[in-house]
């Protein structure tokens, strides 16, 4: 044997290129529409073209008579096989049928379903269905909707209130009793109060892969396999089983390659229930794949929340109190997590500041629009936006540097864990350090001078900054109806290779790489010897899914714990084999040996082989090397950051152009900085998109005007400057990895810092706030009409 073996590098913390990529860059990956099952039929949905109406007649005869059409179902017929869809929040909710039975409540709501031999015939047949409606007034304007006008959408929900009013913050008891003493005192002591109505507009998540499902019920076995472009196959399995009268053991849910989710693929949708139920009824495999035009109406939207904010402060910049009245437009129905998303806005209203008194109230309202649900950030960007905009306005009012104002009010490092007025317990943080690094990287002083010089030349250049803190690593089971743990299994195979499973089913996050890095380090084996499996409930025993920036913090920890259990057992086998004490063993370079004596050890594969043919079997041990772990975090994690931007507005046209974006993020320990940077970039892109170009628009009839990429803009490469990233590292004590989560971070700081820059650019016109997005015409009006 060679005396020198190559040293395997430690991989955690390294910029390891992704193991997922070879299949993806060669077109060899399988997304749901790439999967075929012999005999499968295609679904197409006939969708409502009115926003609110009573179905008076559906004529399916022409469709049913078409060559290649297998079956046609109306809403009433679907209702016989698909019960009303369940939601995942404890709020009262109206019945929601997968296919409308009598009343349609948003344009795009399904009213009938076609099953046909291919997608072309299915589309033709859906078009051949004729539906008549008695039109009802469309409820479009949020604040008008709250008065019950022009119509009440669900009869048991007076004034269209899905959630009438939930109070939170200082003086609010667990029983929602309200004591106003502290908040009144704060505002009575105020020397300055900032008050502003702010709109956090509706967005379309638009993963480039739309949704899709393939359901295959096998009557002979009585089992269902369902492939879906989902973020959480285990939740899908639970729901499909329950809705079809099957046991969870009889349903196999598979998330194949998933082409982006951004929160919109958490929900279990009507199309999934319908495909499964029809497959079970007809005994044939059923596929449905969403068109982009459908996606704009049929996949949940994000944000759409109105905030009335009041910020009380002393003239020296000390913030005394914050009031925030939230009104969320949730669209026509509650989806899986719809009602819960704005509660995260409530939770994070404390932002990064030590605010003595906070009062937040939340109202959720039905309108005749596509339902909302999670969209990257899900509630936290809204909170960040409202509070940071108000802080920026306060800084302007006080003529203070926005960084100085923040510095004066930060929660201090020694105060962690910090219990907020909103009931969160921030795990760890050093906000000032993070901000200072951002200011340094941005050359804040020089940036201001640059802006001033540009302004002196008549250019409309502005700079803005924002802090954020978000709640990630969701979360303790008390905070999630699904349970808040994550699961992992680790098996050392007989040849010493490692197979691991994770319930955190990724859709671009790179878990096959990061989790592989962790196990390779944990066992001292090459990365190539580790395989990470995910996305198939028949392989991955249990799981919750990937959302809320939880896959590393919760899923990664479960993996680490499962690996630790197996390693402990493997050490016992190795100890027996090497006649050594298991506590003295080292796993390194593909070998297991007694510390200080690498040559004396055994190869990793030899120890593994012994564990499977244990002759003799060490006392007290079972054969084999396989174990699993559930990790239940004691708390969420609270990553944070500081974003700074510079923006120029064309004086003649109002067109904004982003010149610089500097971000410093703190997500605790990073497993793979390359992947983390990618996550930040992507989040920034969506945040910048929201701030500058994205907005779902409905007309007064409730018709979606931005129904395609011809009218709904998402960012292109030309819309961005090169982002400048950096990191501070404040590990979390919540999990042994010290990792906080990073998937959504970019969407938080970017929106308020860009709007702040726009306001700064237009300060000469006296504007104090501009609602997103920064539509050129809106900015032009400020410049040329002095109106906001």
């Amino acid at each position: 044997m060679a005396t020198t073996t190559p040293v395997l590098p430690k991989l955690v913390g390294q910029r390891v290129k992704r193991r997922e990529d070879p299949r993806l860059i060669q077109g060899l990956a399988s997304y749901v529409d790439d999967i075929k099952v012999a005999g499968m039929q295609y679904l197409a949905f006939k969708r409502s073209d009115v926003a609110h109406g009573r179905i008076t007649r559906i004529d399916t005869t022409a469709a049913a008579a078409m060559d290649g059409v297998e079956a046609v179902f109306t809403g009433a017929q679907i209702a016989e096989i698909v019960p009303p869809m369940p939601i995942g929040t404890p709020f009262p909710s109206p019945a929601h049928h997968a296919v409308a039975v009598d009343v349609v409540r948003y344009a795009g709501e399904p009213v009938a379903v076609v099953v046909a031999r291919d997608r072309y015939v299915a589309r033709d047949a859906a078009d051949a269905i004729v539906v008549s409606y008695e039109r009802l007034p469309a409820v479009v304007d949020l604040e008008q909707a709250m008065t019950g006008k022009p119509a009440v959408i669900h009869k048991d929900f007076a004034n269209n209130l899905a959630v009438a009013l939930v109070p939170g913050g200082t003086g609010v008891g667990a029983d929602y009793s309200v004591d106003d003493t502290a908040i009144n005192k704060a505002f009575a002591a105020a020397e300055v109060v900032i008050s502003q109505r702010m709109v956090n507009q509706r967005l379309a998540p638009t993963a480039i892969e739309g949704r899709g499902v393939l359901a295959h019920y096998e009557p002979g076995r009585g089992t269902m396999t369902i492939w879906s472009s989902t973020q959480n196959p285990h939740i899908l399995r639970t729901m499909i089983a329950a809705m079809n009268g099957l046991g969870q053991d009889q349903v196999r849910a598979i998330a194949p390659e998933v082409g982006g989710g951004f929160g919109a693929k958490i929900n279990i949708y009507g199309e999934e229930y319908v495909a499964a139920a029809i497959s079970k009824k007809l005994g044939v495999p059923i596929k449905w794949v969403e068109d982009r035009s459908e996606a704009f109406v049929a996949t949940t939207h994000g944000r759409d929340i109105l905030g009335y904010i009041d910020l009380a402060a002393k003239r020296d910049g000390t913030v005394l109190g914050l009031k925030l009245r939230l009104i969320a437009d949730i669209g026509a129905y509650n989806m899986l997590l719809t009602a819960a998303i704005p509660t995260l806005t409530m939770l994070m209203a404390n932002a990064t500041y030590n605010i003595p008194a906070i009062r937040v109230t939340l109202t959720e309202v039905f309108t005749n629009k596509t339902p909302t649900d999670a969209y990257r950030g899900a509630g936290r960007p809204e909170a960040t936006y409202f509070v940071e905009r108000a802080m920026d306005m306060l800084a302007r009012e006080l003529n203070m540097d926005p960084a100085d104002l923040r510095r004066k009010n930060f929660i201090q490092p020694y105060q962690f864990p910090f219990a907020t007025q909103m009931g969160a317990v921030y795990d760890s943080g050093d906000y000032e350090k993070c901000m200072d690094l951002a200011l340094k990287n941005a050359k804040w002083k020089e940036l201001k001078a640059e802006r001033d010089a540009a302004k002196a030349k008549g250019r409309l250049v502005g700079i803005g900054m924002a802090m954020y803190v978000e709640v990630c690593g969701l979360g303790p089971s008390s905070s999630l109806p699904t349970g808040g743990w994550e699961h992992s299994g680790v098996t050392i195979e007989r040849d010493g290779r490692i197979t691991a499973t994770t319930g955190a089913s990724p859709h671009g996050q790179g878990n096959e790489t990061t989790f592989g890095q962790m196990l390779a380090d944990q066992f001292g084996v090459p990365l190539e010897h580790v395989t990470i499996l995910h996305g198939d409930t028949s392989i991955v025993k249990q799981g919750i899914g990937t959302f809320g920036s939880r896959s590393q913090a919760v899923g990664g920890t479960a993996l680490h714990l499962a690996g630790g259990k197996v390693k402990a057992k493997m050490a016992k086998f190795a100890a027996a084999l090497l006649e050594a004490n298991e506590d003295d063993l080292v796993f390194e370079n593909g070998r297991v040996f007694v510390k200080g004596a690498p040559a004396s050890g055994k190869s990793f594969a030899e120890v593994a082989a012994y564990a499977y043919v244990p002759v003799p079997l060490p006392p007290g041990l079972e054969p084999g090397l396989s174990d699993e772990a559930f990790f239940e975090p004691a708390n969420n994690t609270y990553p944070f950051g500081c974003h700074i931007s510079m923006l120029e507005i064309d004086r003649e046209t109002g067109e904004p152009k982003l010149l610089k974006l500097i971000a410093v993020d703190d997500a605790g320990n990073l497993i793979n900085p390359l992947i983390v940077e990618g996550q930040i970039h992507g989040g920034l892109a969506q945040g910048i998109g929201q701030a500058m170009i994205e907005e779902v628009v409905y007309n007064s009839d409730g018709q979606l005007v931005t129904g395609s990429f011809m009218d709904y803009a998402i960012p292109r490469a030309i819309d961005f400057p090169r982002f400048e990233l950096d990191f501070t590292c404040t590990p979390t004590p919540v999990n042994p990895l010290g990792a906080k989560g990073v998937g959504e971070a970019g969407t938080l700081g970017s929106t308020p810092c860009i709007v702040a820059a726009a306001v700064d650019a237009l300060s000469e016109f006296g504007v104090k706030h501009i609602d997103m997005m920064l539509r050129p015409e809106k900015l032009w009006r400020i410049i040329h009409g002095g109106k906001s």
């Binding site: 005007v705 803009a713 539509r775």
Partner: protein
């Protein structure tokens, strides 16, 4: 999305295509690059019964100089126009405009003839065709016919082109001092307002000017009031500034949508007129 079913035919000459158009009695639609038509068909906003593919008709694509004039054949794709060395040298505004259409893939497939025949109210090409005073060459059962660009664009998606006629190409005198400027609709990339300006300059004086405007109304139009204001004036920033101010005056109908109100669009006409003229001046 999937279009409705249609019958597909291919024509190998203009005459054959014309014959097929006649035979189909109005149900036939020409298909070249398809980048105006196919998206509409997929959304089922256009449901032609028969498509006649003219993309392979020999000699229907290309750019050349003939008798002192530039000729661009109808099936020439935008990319070839945008990257034409001939145009870059002799008439850069046309290449510049082609380069502003869509994105690289669209420019690799979309054709000049298709864009002109479709006449989207916010398409780029019509503006520049007006500015270079292009002659549009049409062939029908009775032979060739020439229509001035200023007569060709008539109304919303409506041009002077009979159901049995085909655009063969365009011809125009090269003009170097010309420019195109547009306000991009940020989702589609189409022009909210687009202005192409061409100046004939002699001894530092603008002898005549032509300006084409797209995006603002139902179809692209000339801005004759600006043209008149420029004619006979010395070519200078001051002249441009003054003339651009009246751009758009007198236009009765101006479009409005979520991307730009009528008021904003109207305000953008002088802005982009000035910018187009500045580009033209820089090239003089």
């Amino acid at each position: 999305m999937i279009s409705t079913a249609f019958e597909y035919q291919r024509a190998n000459s203009l005459d054959e295509a014309i014959k097929k158009l006649q035979e189909t009695g109005g149900r036939g639609k020409l298909l070249a690059g398809g980048h105006s038509l196919v998206p509409l068909m997929k959304l089922r906003m256009s449901e032609p019964g028969i498509l006649i593919d003219i993309a392979r008709i020999p000699g229907l694509a290309g750019i050349r100089e003939k008798d002192g004039k530039i000729e661009i054949f109808a099936a020439t794709v935008h990319h070839d126009v945008a990257s034409s060395a001939l145009l870059a040298e002799k008439c850069p505004v046309v290449a510049e405009t082609a380069g502003e259409i869509g994105d690289p893939q669209v420019r690799n497939r979309g054709t000049l003839g298709g864009s002109l025949a479709h006449s989207d109210p916010s398409a780029d090409y019509p503006a520049v065709m007006l500015a270079v005073d292009a002659e549009i060459h049409l062939k029908g059962p009775k032979g060739w016919r020439i229509v001035k660009a200023s007569d060709f664009f008539q109304d919303l998606f409506t041009v002077d082109l009979a159901a049995d006629e085909i655009i063969g190409g365009v011809q125009f005198a090269a003009v170097k001092s010309a420019g195109y400027a547009k306000l991009h609709q940020r989702a589609s990339g189409y022009a909210i307002v687009g202005v192409a300006a061409a100046l004939d300059v002699k001894g530092g004086v603008i002898t005549s000017a032509r300006l084409g405007l797209t995006g603002a109304g139902s179809h692209a139009t000339r801005m004759t009031n600006v043209e008149k204001a420029l004619a006979g004036q010395p070519l200078s920033a001051k002249t441009i500034e003054a003339a651009a101010k009246i751009a758009g005056e007198g236009i009765k109908h101006v479009n409005a949508d979520i991307h730009a109100s009528e008021e904003y669009r109207r305000a953008m006409i002088p802005v982009f007129t000035k910018r187009a003229l500045e580009k033209a001046m820089a090239r003089s």
